[in-house]
Amino acid sequence: MSITMTERAAEHVRKSLVHRGKGEGLRLGVRTSGCSGKAYVLEFADSIQPDDQVFEHHGVKVIVDQKSLAFLDGTELDYGKEGLNEGFKFTNPNVKGECGCGESFTV
């Protein structure tokens, strides 16, 4: 079971955490919602729970709870630009279908 993150994404998370002034790392998760069943959760993590799994890439901690990990195993997190817009992108091998914009998905 693993989750990876590109250096560009890690750099951006590190910058955000420094700016925010607190936080253990980045929490990734999956919850049931959205037009295609599941949606990603991307939040700052202020604490690590006992059932969390922690991955470290380029010096940044990625924290995932056990339940979400089943849907995220093998995911790579990247940061990119599309025109003027920029943000984090998920490449998740578990996804069987996505809504048009990719914000929610089915597994």
Partner: protein
């Protein structure tokens, strides 16, 4: 594939329901838009990486207007259709604009309700429409950068903007299709950008030296609310003046007359600005001037020479700073932080001067061009609900005045609209009738003069006032609004201590549209409201005189007046009664004056009788 941002813990939104919020600094010279993404607030750039959008709109015949750098480039060739500095005339009437006329090259035509309109090749445009064009451009940039429709926008305005200037700014936002959450004072936005709102309390000086204007504001933070203690400034002082001073020096050094050729002067101005930017980093800058005969002068502008050129301009900021501290009744020692805003504060000399005026090293970490937009973005992010509620800012004001009903169905306003909350204000009222033992307190909301045109919020009674003659009772009515907008009203009779109170939530149940309608009515009906108030005041005065005279006649009429005198007074009394119900204010006033003259002798006799009664039974030496 969607591009996602990092949320605060527990604040993730459902897909497609991201609450995109931006802050907009709608400036005189330049405008910016900023947003908080993955916890970082920063300004948004256009496709070419430019953050500043020149606040310039050029209207073209038969085509859409252009905004920003493209419009600015055309300003020299097409001055009448290229509108710059429109902020200076926002919310101003046509008469104000005429007095500003010398500085603005446009042709104005009066519009409806005295609002000026600017004549352009594409037709007439109001300042609100021109501003909306700038906002529309920023909106497009923000939507492209954030990948969706905006849910909330905070626009900044100068602290000294009055109601009509603020309303005009809000109208421009609505016209541009922006969901305006709130207007925020520029100095407050700068303080928020530096996180000063997270301190418990403090007094801050915001020194804002831009391209063409200088503003100095003193803010006080108290329990999460910024209050503007005082503002001062100079609407014709800024970096442009420095550019002119340097350009003049360059032309003098090159032996070229300043007024010689306009093209050369414009080029010199551009080079002067470049030299100024270099000197913010380096000790000297290379400059050159091409003379009309084609020969080129090369020179060096050293920091010392540069400082000598710009010093007189920087010194002009000192007097407003001193004045603003005096107006705010503080000294430099009371100021806990100094924030620098505006591109000109990048200059080391300006920073030094600001530090010596306020005896404190100013905050300079955030780009002074962007700091206001960044503060607005942070505020917008909080207001739209992307932060946990314990970080909620309280910067709030009451939308409509609050007051109580007084005799004659009039409103006495106790807390003026736009007051920041929390707030407490008290006013003393008096009894109207002899022996009055109770007072009904009717709490109303609105900016009209008559109770019937305002909204009734609550009624309560103060009982247990000791019997006294009319006007002797002192009832202190206190209005208090806490940080959540909850209003409590209490009334206390000062001699007996009898007290009563009620709690209401004033903004409850009022939509923005209703508040707006009530405000608009108060402006539309200002004159008739004023007339109605004058009439009611005279009627109340007449009632008071009639009641006082009736009780005096009943007590002493027989003893102190002859039958003829009494008949005369009663005749004048009935005259006043008959005009009292009319609508002629002057007639009622005359009636009161006539009765007053007719009863002067009676009043004097009553006073003598009163003194005799008080003195009788006492020996003279008791009063020695």
């Amino acid at each position: 594939m969607a591009l996602l941002q990092i949320s605060e813990p527990g604040q993730s939104t459902a897909p497609h329901l991201h609450r995109l919020a931006v802050g907009i600094d709608l400036g005189t010279t330049n405008s910016l838009v900023a947003s908080v993404r993955s916890g970082i607030a920063d300004t948004l750039a256009d496709g070419e990486g430019r953050h500043l959008l020149p606040s310039v709109v050029r209207y073209l015949k038969g085509a859409d207007p252009v905004v920003g750098d493209v419009a600015l480039a055309a300003a020299a060739d097409d001055p009448l259709n290229t509108i710059a500095s429109v902020k200076r005339i926002m919310g101003r009437g046509i008469d104000d604009v005429k007095t500003l006329g010398g500085t603005l090259p446009y042709e104005f035509a009066p519009g409806e309700s005295g609002m000026p309109r600017i004549c352009t090749a594409a037709g007439l445009y109001s300042p609100v429409e021109v501003s909306a064009e700038i906002l529309r451009s920023l909106k497009r940039r923000a939507e492209a950068s954030l990948g969706g429709d905006l849910s909330g926008v905070v626009i900044t305005v100068p602290a000294y903007f009055d109601d009509s200037q603020r309303q005009a700014t809000k109208d421009a936002g609505r016209l541009a299709g922006l969901p305006v959450l709130r207007l925020l004072n520029e100095p407050t936005a700068a303080a928020v950008a530096y996180g000063l709102d997270r301190k418990a309390e403090g007094v801050f000086a915001i020194y804002d030296l831009g391209g063409g204007t200088f503003d100095i504001s003193i803010l006080r933070l108290n329990r999460g609310v910024f209050e503007v203690l005082a503002t001062a400034g100079d609407s014709a002082l800024g970096g442009d003046d420095m550019d002119h001073a340097i350009a003049d020096w360059m032309l003098r050094q090159a032996g070229v007359g300043v007024s010689g050729d306009p093209h050369g002067a414009r080029r010199a101005l551009r080079d002067a600005r470049a030299a100024k930017h270099v000197l913010s980093q380096s000790a000297q800058a290379a400059v050159c001037v091409t003379r009309p005969d084609g020969s080129v002068w090369h020179g060096t502008l050293a920091r010392a020479e540069f400082d000598a050129l710009v010093n007189p301009i920087i010194e002009r900021t000192v007097a407003p700073c001193r004045r603003v501290m005096r107006d705010a009744a503080i000294t430099a020692a009371d100021i806990s932080e100094v924030v620098l805003v505006g591109g000109s504060t990048r200059m080391p000399r300006v920073r030094e001067r600001a530090a010596t005026i306020f005896c404190r090293t100013p905050l300079t970490d955030i780009d002074p061009d962007r700091v206001v937009a960044i503060g607005a973005a942070i505020q917008a992010d909080i207001l739209i609900g992307n932060k946990p509620s314990d970080e909620m800012l309280l910067l709030d004001v009451i939308p409509l005045s609050l007051g109580i009903e007084i005799m004659g169905g009039m409103v006495e306003k106790i807390i003026a609209r736009n007051s920041t909350i929390p707030i407490a204000k008290a006013q003393d009222f008096t009894t109207f009738k002899d022996g009055q033992t109770a007072m009904a307190i009717h709490v109303v909301q609105g900016d009209r003069e008559l109770v019937s045109d305002c909204r009734s919020l609550a009624r309560f009674e103060l009982r247990g006032i000791p019997p006294m003659v009319a006007g002797a009772g002192r009832i202190r009515v206190t209005f208090q609004i806490d940080a959540d907008g909850l209003l409590s009203v209490s009334a206390q009779e000062q001699t007996s201590g009898a007290a009563s109170s009620v709690v209401v939530k004033p903004s409850y149940g009022l939509s923005d549209a209703e508040i707006e309608r009530m405000l608009r009515d108060s402006i539309v009906h200002a004159r008739e409201d004023n007339d109605a108030r004058n009439l009611r005041e005279q009627q109340v005065d007449a009632d008071r005189v009639v009641a006082a005279l009736e009780s005096a006649l009943a007590a002493d009429g027989d003893a102190l007046l002859s039958a003829a005198e009494r008949l005369e007074i009663e005749h004048k009394l009935s005259l006043l009664r008959s005009v009292r119900d009319g609508t002629d204010v002057a007639c009622i006033r005359d009636g009161i004056d006539t009765l007053d003259r007719a009863t002067r002798e009676f009043a004097a006799r009553r006073m003598d009788a009163g003194i005799r009664k008080a003195l009788s039974g006492h020996r003279l030496d008791e009063f020695g």
